[in-house]
């Protein structure tokens, strides 16, 4: 009898630019588990995919259908707004919910942080550093960068993004951290989640004289900002959200994307060599028989996220156990420095504790390097030719501060 699992995707909404590769990663990994491992202990996964177009209410409606009608035991989720809206529901229904939202509010599993508006989220998990922690790491790097370049005075920091739970999520944490590090914090600048003409925002940025700007949106709209700012001649170091920069975005933005610093969740990117790459390529063949596709960073993250869930389910199923929500959740706590089998060197090790769902505090920062015209040729060609590169910049190990839990 198959195990029903929900898979919420944004393939058509404003975050579909990153939603598509991520969702593909999840789907391929689960299909691969069915194909090569015959599911979980002989029970196949029945993956119920749903493209919710990045609209939280549609996600909630689908969630209720899944829980009431399909009786799913775990869900691979997506955005921040929907994940946060569902926290109460998944807690009530005891369904592990592995999101692609890395909102720090989801890490406070026991509700101990005492921060206003942060509820306990005992069934929420995600793979990778939280948005807030990633931003904290980037700010630490920015501080070093400022000093290394021998600049005078206080650096100026500005948060940019839509008025939406996802870009808003690390806003407060980032601004607090920036102050702590001695930055001057400028008023935030808004731009929508969809591509558009953001010249006015760039002119504002220029007028403010910002030095470091955080791009809180996903790639699609960030590209517009990068291009507009290049045109407007803005000199600023952009710090990208984890969803804010990737290979596709580099191609689309061209040289405007050159120099953006952003976190990468996996230990390797496509095309690099690592022990786990063989497995990864097998997984990739699920949707690409020819084996020629280039897989951007989000695809890899999707695979890691799905495989964590799979191993937690396997843990639940051990010794003839029932694959139920609470038991899957226990599976997440079963191991320390956990890397899914066969993906060594691809997924970074994570550790979840019953009160602290911050899987990792290590943030690997990379820089996008674009040296020429990106309009001709595929991403794979451009990466191979070196027109586009993703260069490691620094790896920041953050302290697991208790007062950072939950925001």
């Amino acid at each position: 009898q198959p195990i029903p699992v929900g898979h919420l995707m944004d393939n058509s909404g404003p975050t579909s630019d990153v939603g598509v590769p991520y969702g593909q990663g999840v789907a391929d990994a689960l299909a691969w588990v069915n194909a090569t491992r015959n599911g979980i202990n002989g029970r196949r996964l029945n993956v119920l995919g749903f493209d919710y177009g990045y609209q939280a209410p549609r996600a909630v409606a689908q969630y209720q259908a899944w829980v009431n009608r399909e009786r799913v035991v775990a869900i691979q989720g997506w955005g921040t707004a929907d994940t946060e809206a569902l926290v109460r529901f998944v807690t009530r229904d005891r369904i592990p919910y592995i999101s692609a939202s890395y909102s720090a509010a989801l890490t406070d599993a026991a509700g101990r942080s005492g921060r206003q508006g942060v509820e306990a989220a005992p069934f929420n998990f995600f793979y990778g550093p939280s948005y807030s922690d990633a931003l904290r790491a980037m700010l630490q790097w920015a501080k070093q960068d400022w000093e290394r370049r021998g600049q005078q005075g206080r650096p100026r920091y500005v948060h940019m993004g839509a008025n939406h739970p996802y870009p808003n999520s690390p806003k407060e944490a980032g601004e607090a951290m920036a102050r702590e590090l001695g930055f001057e914090v400028l008023p935030a600048i808004q731009f929508a989640l969809t591509p558009g003409d953001y010249t006015a925002q760039c002119l504002t940025l220029k007028n403010q004289g910002a030095n470091y700007a955080y791009l809180g949106n996903t790639a699609g709209s960030n590209i517009s900002v990068l291009r507009a700012c290049q045109t407007a001649g803005v000199q600023v170091q952009f710090l990208g959200n984890v969803w804010g920069m990737d290979e596709n975005a580099m191609k689309a933005a061209g040289t405007a994307a050159n120099g953006v610093v952003f976190p990468v969740r996996t230990a390797a990117v496509w095309g690099q060599e690592a022990p786990g790459m063989r497995t990864l390529r097998q997984i990739s063949r699920q949707s690409d028989q020819a084996g020629t596709a280039y897989r951007p960073v989000h695809y890899l993250a999707g695979v890691c996220s799905a495989m964590l869930m799979v191993e937690a389910m396997e843990h639940a199923a051990q010794n003839g156990g029932e694959v139920s929500g609470p038991r899957i959740r226990d599976g997440f706590y079963a191991r320390q420095n956990w890397v899914p089998r066969g993906l060594e060197g691809v997924c970074v090790p994570v550790t979840y504790a019953a009160e602290d769902h911050r899987g990792t505090m290590r943030v690997a920062l990379y820089r996008s390097v674009v040296t020429g015209d990106t309009s001709q040729g595929s991403v794979a060609d451009l990466m191979r030719a070196g027109t586009m590169r993703i260069e490691p910049v620094a790896t920041i190990e953050l302290a697991r501060r208790r007062d950072w839990l939950g925001w």
Binding site: N11, S12, V20, Q24, D51, G53, Y54, Q55, A56, P57, R58, V60, A61, Q64, A65, N68, R69, A81, E84, A85, R88, F89, N163, H164, P165, N168, S287
Partner: protein, 355 residues
Amino acid sequence: MAVMMPAGDYRTSYREDMTIFPTRGSRVALWAGIALLCLAPLVLDRYLLHLLINIGFLGIAALGLNILVGFTGQISIGHAAFFGFGAFASAWAHEVLHVPVALAIPLAGLITALVGLVFGAPAARLKGLYLAIATLAAQFILEDFFARAQWFTGGVAGRVTEPFSLFGLRFDRDETYFYVVLAFVAAMFLGAANLMRTRDGRALVAVRDHYLSAEMMGINLAYYRTLSFGIASFYAGIGGALYAHYLLFVSVEAFNILFSIQFLGMVIIGGLGSVMGSLMGAAFMVLLPEVVQSLADLLAGGPIDRALKLGASISYLREMAIGAAIILFLIFEPDGLAHRWRLIKAYWKLYPYSH
């Protein structure tokens, strides 16, 4: 030109001549229909109930829009914002003012009606598409308000709502909530049908058909133009509130321009100026994506699927199918489902004479 009446159906008083359901058959059908619907939760599975519930609250809101567009002739491209307002208002009334949900829903309808009157005020001066675009502005302004008014809506993060309860009974499952929606649908549709056959309803239609002569018949144009916004918003508010306590979560994202356009689609496809058409239109819009989805599921894995790599593109195909269905429908039935329904009925009455 003379209206056909079924043989054997004589009316002996004006009262009988003025009923909503003109024939005995239609009255019987109505009661039978209601009885069947009451039994629905016992026989239908949750999925179908879920669809019926959706049709119910969307139908109420669509009816409101039909009163505005179909009966009064004022196009609104901002109906979803009012629907949303109702949803937030009900959630807010319960959460902040601690009004019981059963009362919060009608209260939300009233608050939304007031907001509708405010945004409908330009209707007194604007006509046709100018008014339509003004409602488009209302859509964006209200959306912005939802995102900003933390105290009212919970801001961009939205608000979790409580289920409907009455006399200690909780209506938090499809099987039970269905009755709540059914009761509201019945009340709201009867109300509209009654409205349309009395003074103010006629005045609304008169304003649509020929406002200059309506004015000379003593009809206050500004009043009725604004009133129809108020009524439409009331219906939208009730529909939205029912939605809020069904989904148990309200967020600004739902109430976007696309949703407004869907409402417009419902009333046009259902039939402008037809009370029951609104419900038919809502059903069309709810069922269409489901039908497309099942088709896709049927195709999945087949040769067509493999050839076109449908798997990954299914969501686009679904959208395309919805767009195409709307286009095809309107090409073949520009007057809407209600019209087709009337033709079918007329056909049976006149059978076998077609002329």
